[in-house]
Structures are given as C-alpha cells and as structure tokens.
Amino acid sequence: MASGLHNSDIPNPVLRWIDQRMPVFTMMQKEYGSFPTPRNFNYFWNFGALAMVNLVIMIATGVFLAMHYTPHTSMAFDSVERIMRDVNYGWLLRYVHANGASMFFIVVYIHIWRGMYYGSYKAPRELLWMLGVAIFLLMMATAFMGYVLPWGQMSFWGATVITNLFSAFPVVGEWIVQLLWGGFSVDNPTLNRFFALHYLLPFVIVGVVFLHVVALHITGSNNPLGIEPKGPQDTLPFHPYYTAKDSFGLVIYFIVFAAIVFFAPNYLGHPDNYIPANPLVTPAHIVPEWYFLPFYAILRAVPDKLGGVLMMFGSILVWFVLPWLDRSPVRSMRFRPIARIAFLLWTAAFLVLLYCGGKPAEEPYVTISRLATAYYFAYFLVILPLLARLEKPLPLPESIARAVLGGGPLPGGAAAKPMEKA
C-alpha cells in the first residue's frame, strides 16, 4: 500500500490509476459484479431494479419538463398544454412522466408485496425494510405534489382536500395547513412551494435509495425460501446471472410502460384534470390518483375526521414496526400455511380498498371499506402476532442449493414447489 494508494487489480491502466486513488471500480465490481446473490430468486426480485430505473426515468423527464413549465396559477395549465403541443416531443416527455408515476407505484407496490410475502422485513433486514417504507412515504408526497402542478380541477381540489386533512390535528393543525398553503387557501404560493418541493424530494429519494442499497449489501438479499445462504453453493455472482435476469424483466416492464404511454396515456388519469382549476366550481367527486385510493378509502371509512386521518397515516406507519409485529422465525410464506392465507386475504383487502376508494362515499362501498380496513389492521396487529406463537410452520429446506438443485429427498414444502427455472 505504497503512499496510501488502493491496491487495485483493474487491468486497464487509466481506470486503475483512478481506482488506486478512488476505488469506485473495485466497489462496483464487489457490489454489482461478484456480489454473492442467492441463486433461487424468482421474477419478483426484478422489481427493486425496476424501481431504480423508474426513479431515473422520472428525474430525467422531470428535469426537461421543468424547463418548459411555469409554476403560476394563471399560466401552469397552459404551459403544460404548450409542452404537449409546441415543445419537441413534449407530449412524450409529459406522458412518460405522468404515467411513469403510475408505473413507479405499480412496481413499488409489487416490490413491497414481495417483501411482505417472503418476509424480507425480518431480522437482520429491519432497517433495510424501514428505509424502504421511508422511500414509499417520500414517493407519495412527491407524487401528490406533482399531480397538483398541471393546475387542473383535480389538481386543485385534490390539493385542497388532502392539505385540509392536516387541520384535523389539534393545536398545530391550522398552522401546518397554512404552512402548506403559504396563505389561507390553495393558491399561487401553494403551487410555487409544491413545485419547489416536487423538484427537491426526488433527490431526497435518491439519497434514501442509496442507504436502502447500502443496507441491502450488508445483509444480502432475502430469497423465496427465506433461508440464509450457507455458502458459495447457495449463491451466484450478481453479474452476469442477475444482470441478465433483470435485463429481461426490464424489457418486459418497458413494454407495459410503452403500451400505456403510447396507446392509453390518459387512461390512468382523470378527465377533470383537463379542466383548468376553478376555486368556485367543485367537481362532483373528488378522487385522488389511483395509487392513493386504498388509503383514501381507509380515510373515508372512519366517521371521525381526526380518526380517519390517523388511521390513514397509521395504515402505512404500521409497516415500520412490521418486523416486530411478526415474530415468527420463518420468513417465507411458503412455509407458513396459515399466515400465507391471511396475507393473501390482506392483499385482497388492499385491492378492495383500492376499488372502494374510487367509488363515491355511499353504500355499499362504505361498509365494504370498513370491513376491509378492519382486516387490514387486524392482519398486522392481531393475526401476525398471534400466528407467530400458534402457527406450526412447514419444515424448511436444508439449504438453497439442495432445494434448487435437488440431490436426495427434500423436506416437505420445498419439494412440492419446484424452483424457478426460466
């Protein structure tokens, strides 16, 4: 280690010169080249990489949109339409960005679902999981403020409804609302600060994503069996195995993304947002973007305003303590016959809430929302803690390699489910 230089084995002399002084290439090789990764990932493990790509797409398109957008109440709507009509490929930038938000939530919901199903939140990955929940909360704030920027009817009224929720908090509520608005109603100062924050928060997300990945590379990835790799026979180097597998998943993701952007770019939006914001005309039904609907349904399921707000925030904050609510030592639901059913029911409850959130607040949707909300919380607060004590898990396979490659009779559950081959 002469003169403190890093002992680099990068062959290219120029890269080695850099690497000796700043070992980024060694780091990349270690973290993305030879990084030992469980050999039994299924395609659910694509979604972390997809989310990363999606974040980059959002920032890239967003920066160019910001060059043409005007955050002023009298010009915002027209400036967005100018992007659609007069900016070269502006329609493409905007539709990729707007639908990119929907794609981001689809990808991240599946990513979170995978974490819950395979118990990726359990020790030693609790902090990794909590950083992920923090990313999700930041994404929600960013998406909400982004939806306000075109200054259509849903932008304005969505902003009014959601910011007003904070007024439910005693003592500080009014103060928070005025801080969000920059005044006494949703108006130009609101639009200005939302634009500033909408530009800022994605970079905060990048920072937390970096920490998320750092934490991941300390503990290593979970896998569909939920058992730790016991040695080199259980893992594969990340490259080329998972770079190749992620590449295929990425192209499929691009096909879905392109189908929406090019053939149904307004399908996931609301027609009212093509009506310029008008504080004097309230839309018949104010609905948030589809990805907020489950939480919106929880909000409306509670008859009390403060109670509803607390339940809505609580429905996500409860994820933070999930590692301590579910004390079962078995991670993967494959080996938890009862928890597996309970979790699939939770998934159904989430989708039911998504559906009900888009419906008017009337019967039967209110009652259905209440039942689904009750189950949503019961799963976390009652069922998981109880199952940790009561459930008898199926026997776990001895090792990943044994489960994947065979070699002698396998213990029950693993043998019944052949591993991903394709």
Partner: protein
C-alpha cells in the same frame, strides 16, 4: 414458481383494471354513452382529414360564436391538410388586437397564422353576460376533459330532444339525454342544413356531429397519430429485444440449473 409470477401479473392487472373506476363513477346517475365509430378508434386509427376539415368549418361558423379554443393557433390547421395559403386566408378573416405600437396605442390588425384562435369574448364575465349566465367552456382540450371523449361529444350534440314526461326543464335550459343532470344551458347547436360543405357532404345532424367531434379530438390530441406510429415501432422493437434478452438469460443460466 410460475404461479407466483402469474400472481404478480394478476396484481398488476387488477391495479390497472380498477384504476379508471373514479372516472366512470363521476357524475352521480350513470349515463351510458353510446360508442360511436370514429376514424381514430383503435391503435391504428388516424384522423379522417376531410372530416376534421369539415369539423373546423362547423366550429368556425357555429361553435366559435360562443366557444374559444385559445390553445390552438391558425398554423396548427396545416396538420389537417390545409395549405399555407388557405391557413393565411382563414387567419386574415379575423381582426386581432395587437400593440402597443410606438405611440403606445393598441390597434387591430388582420390575423396571422401564428396567432391563437381568436376568442369570441374578452373575458369570462363577458361570455357569461352574453349567454344567460352560463360560461361556454373553452374547447381546446374538451375531448380529453370529458369522460367518454369524442363519443361523449357526439352523444351530446345528437342528444337533444323533448324531456320525458314528468321532467321539467328550468327556464333557459335545454333537455339533453347525455348531459350530466340532463339540463344544459347550450341550446341544440347543430341543425340540419346549417352548414354548407364545399365537398358536397350532406349536412345532416349526424354528419356534422361526427365531423366536429373528429375536429375536437384532433384539437385535444394533435399528437395522436405520431404517438401511435412511434408506439407501434417501439413495442415491436421491445418485443424483439425481449426475445433476445430472454435467450441471453437462458444461455447464461444454462450451466447453473
């Protein structure tokens, strides 16, 4: 494991399937908008230029008396197949306020292709004052701003009639089968024979409604044809790429299974 992959797509599918629920739910009573065949339907659909040109003529002679389209410029009409001279001629028929000039005075001049469509009213108050208190909406993006899009516009324009027995329409309002609430301030705008088309197309209500809906769809989504053409190329490319990526993945993984 294929099953769980399927499940992933099921989750994704249901997310997409449920998503438009809010749009269709809006408006209280459910009004079924009939599906109209348009040239731009489907993923390969394009704008029928002749129909859109007739639609512009209807807009100019009928709708423009009350409805602005302030996001469009006369130059945009080139995309409908009008020549530069035709566009200049159309633009020059309106007087546009410009200025101030060197003396600080505002003045009127004939329109140019670069001008936005002239609005019929100076401001929303003037528009309301001239329309019995109702504000005729700007039509620039109306096809994107109404659930049902062009189908809704066609239905609305052809949906006037006498109210069913037992339904009373308020003073100054008109009955329309497809308007939310069924009472619309706009009187039936299109009447048979109202517009004379130079290409000999009979100006029936259905023809005019179809033409003006086509024009308004084009006005709302002028990029539609370019977007779809690009989308088809991109998806074909990605499909081939997916095949290659899958083959590479199979080859790389062949030795570890």
């Amino acid at each position: 494991m294929f099953r769980t992959t399927l499940k992933a797509f099921a989750v994704l599918g249901s997310l997409v399937a449920f998503a438009p629920a809010p749009a269709s739910a809006a408006g209280g009573e459910e009004i079924h908008i009939p599906d109209t065949r348009f040239s731009f339907d489907g993923i390969f659909g394009t704008y029928d230029r002749a129909s859109a040109q007739r639609g512009f003529q209807i807009y100019k002679e009928v709708c423009a008396n009350c409805h602005a389209m302030h996001l469009l410029s006369y130059r945009n009409l080139r995309a409908l197949g009008l020549t530069e001279a035709q566009v200049a001629a159309i633009a020059s028929t309106v007087q546009i306020q410009d200025g101030p000039n060197d003396e600080g005075q505002m003045f009127e001049r004939p329109g140019r292709p670069s001008d936005r469509f002239r609005s019929p009213f100076a401001n929303p108050q003037a528009a309301r004052a001239a329309n019995n208190g109702a504000l005729p909406p700007d039509l620039s993006v109306i096809a994107k701003a109404r659930a049902g899009g062009a189908d809704y516009l066609y239905a609305l324009l052809t949906g006037y009639g006498d109210p069913p027995p037992g339904v009373t329409v308020m003073e100054g309002m008109n009955y329309n089968r497809y308007f939310p609430g069924h009472q619309i301030a706009m009187a039936a705008p299109l009447n048979e024979g109202q517009v004379e088309f130079s290409d000999g197309t009979p100006s029936t209500l259905e023809n005019m409604a179809r033409d003006v809906s086509t024009f308004l769809q084009w006005a709302a989504e002028p990029e539609l044809e370019e977007r779809r053409a690009m989308g088809i190329k991109i998806i074909l490319f990605l499909t081939v790429l997916a095949g290659l990526a899958y083959a590479v993945k199979r080859k790389i993984w062949a030795d570890v299974h």
